[in-house]
Amino acid sequence: MTAFSRTPALLLLLAFAAGLAGPALAQSAVAEGQKLAFDRGKGNCLTCHVIKGGDLPGTIGPELKDLKAKYPDRNELSAIIFDETKRNPQTMMPPFGRNRILTEQEISAIVDFLQTL
């Protein structure tokens, strides 16, 4: 039996998530982002993009690479994932944030992953 009740344990967890955990968290966010990006039920980005480490990519969108150089501001990447129709009304890329396919946190983890490409 743990000494903690449920609520404080959760608070502790949130405190970690808020950034107290440092580089270890950054690492795990990248891994989590990759998982979300590749997951067919989530980002499923491979449907359209070649991404290092992913199998059976589609060709509808450009290869995702060198993104940190192209979009130094991470908010730009978040915005593309949130709703690319803002930049390009004709785009095929689904509005992952606007249509609630991905949460803000999930998009943020994917951006962490994209910045490593």
Binding site: L46, T47, C48, L56, P57, G58, T59, I60, T85, P89, Q90, M92, P94, P95, R98, N99, R100, I101
Partner: protein, 287 residues
């Protein structure tokens, strides 16, 4: 242009229906003008793929990729739809319990007429597809209707398509405002984005034909129904036009309609009309 005023219908959380039209939408006029639409539609594909022979567009993904086409042509020596074709011929020629046959329900005994379907029925005021006409024939003769999506229905349409191979698609729009409305409605359905992914039919089949979506090569919208029904390895069997529409909607997390719902009938009317002149190639085989 009324449709241009991209409205966002729908509520948060629920499926968003965007009226936004995809770029290659080729029509500018306010008036419904199917002749001009069909011409522009065909030209769009002819210009986008100048190396594809016009009559080849009816071969779906194979028209877009030489390697795939070669593999397919080898497969055609022993086509996977042959079983359905034989079954369809048997079914077609076997009398119903009342002694009549399918031939009694169709012009020319049902042979070589696939290119005229769907048609606009001016009595009913609606589009009638071949699948619908087949089930109506069954019911008129005291037989239970078949499932629209597979097996028996696919066998029957496979046989009817086979007897019509090479005949140019020949869909008419009678001088009836309801026929024009059906065409326009089908067009609208085709270009409207829907579902959580926000895709329209055109996103995949007008904007991206020839591209890979994961491992699959997207078929061009031009002539996309000429090969129906199709055998698909992924289905380990045959599928009708209805099955393909439902699958495309549900795979992209859009809510599929009932097979033979008015809107699907109208989409079929639109897609078939703009393919006028291109040969029937069904039944087809797909990877």
């Amino acid at each position: 242009m009324k449709a241009r005023s991209a409205l966002l219908l729908g509520s948060l959380g629920a499926a968003l229906v965007a009226f936004a039209l995809t770029s290659p939408r080729v029509v500018a006029a306010d008036k419904v003008d199917p002749v001009a639409d069909a011409k522009a539609f065909q030209n769009f594909f002819f210009q986008k793929f100048p190396n594809v022979k016009h009559e080849d567009f009816v071969n779906g993904p194979y028209s877009m990729n030489a390697d795939m086409k070669r593999q397919w042509q080898e497969k055609e020596e022993f086509p996977p739809y042959e079983f359905a074709l034989d079954a369809g011929k048997d079914m077609f020629t076997t009398p119903f319990k009342n002694g009549k046959t399918y031939a009694d329900c169709f012009p020319n005994g049902g042979i070589g007429i696939r290119q005229n379907y769907p048609y606009f029925d001016t009595k009913e005021g609606k589009v009638v597809t071949l699948e619908l006409a087949l089930n109506r024939c069954r019911e008129a003769n005291g037989e239970a209707p078949y499932s629209y999506v597979k097996d028996e229905m696919a066998s029957l349409t496979a046989y009817m398509a086979f007897t019509s191979r090479g005949k140019p698609m020949d869909i008419k729009i009678p001088d009836d405002p309801r026929a024009l409305a059906a065409f326009e409605n089908g067009k609208r359905y085709f270009y409207t984005r829907r579902g959580q992914m926000n895709f329209s039919c055109a996103s995949c089949h007008v904007q991206s034909p020839g591209e890979r979506i994961r491992a699959e090569i997207l078929a061009p919208a031009l002539g996309i129904l000429n090969a129906m029904p199709i055998y698909r390895s992924e289905w380990s069997g045959m599928g009708t036009t209805s099955r393909r529409f439902v699958t495309c909607n549900s795979q992209t997390r859009a809510v599929p309609l009932e097979p033979q719902a008015d809107e699907y009938r109208d989409v079929e009317y639109f897609l078939s009309y703009v393919a006028n002149g291109l040969p029937i190639s069904g039944p087809g085989a797909r990877p």
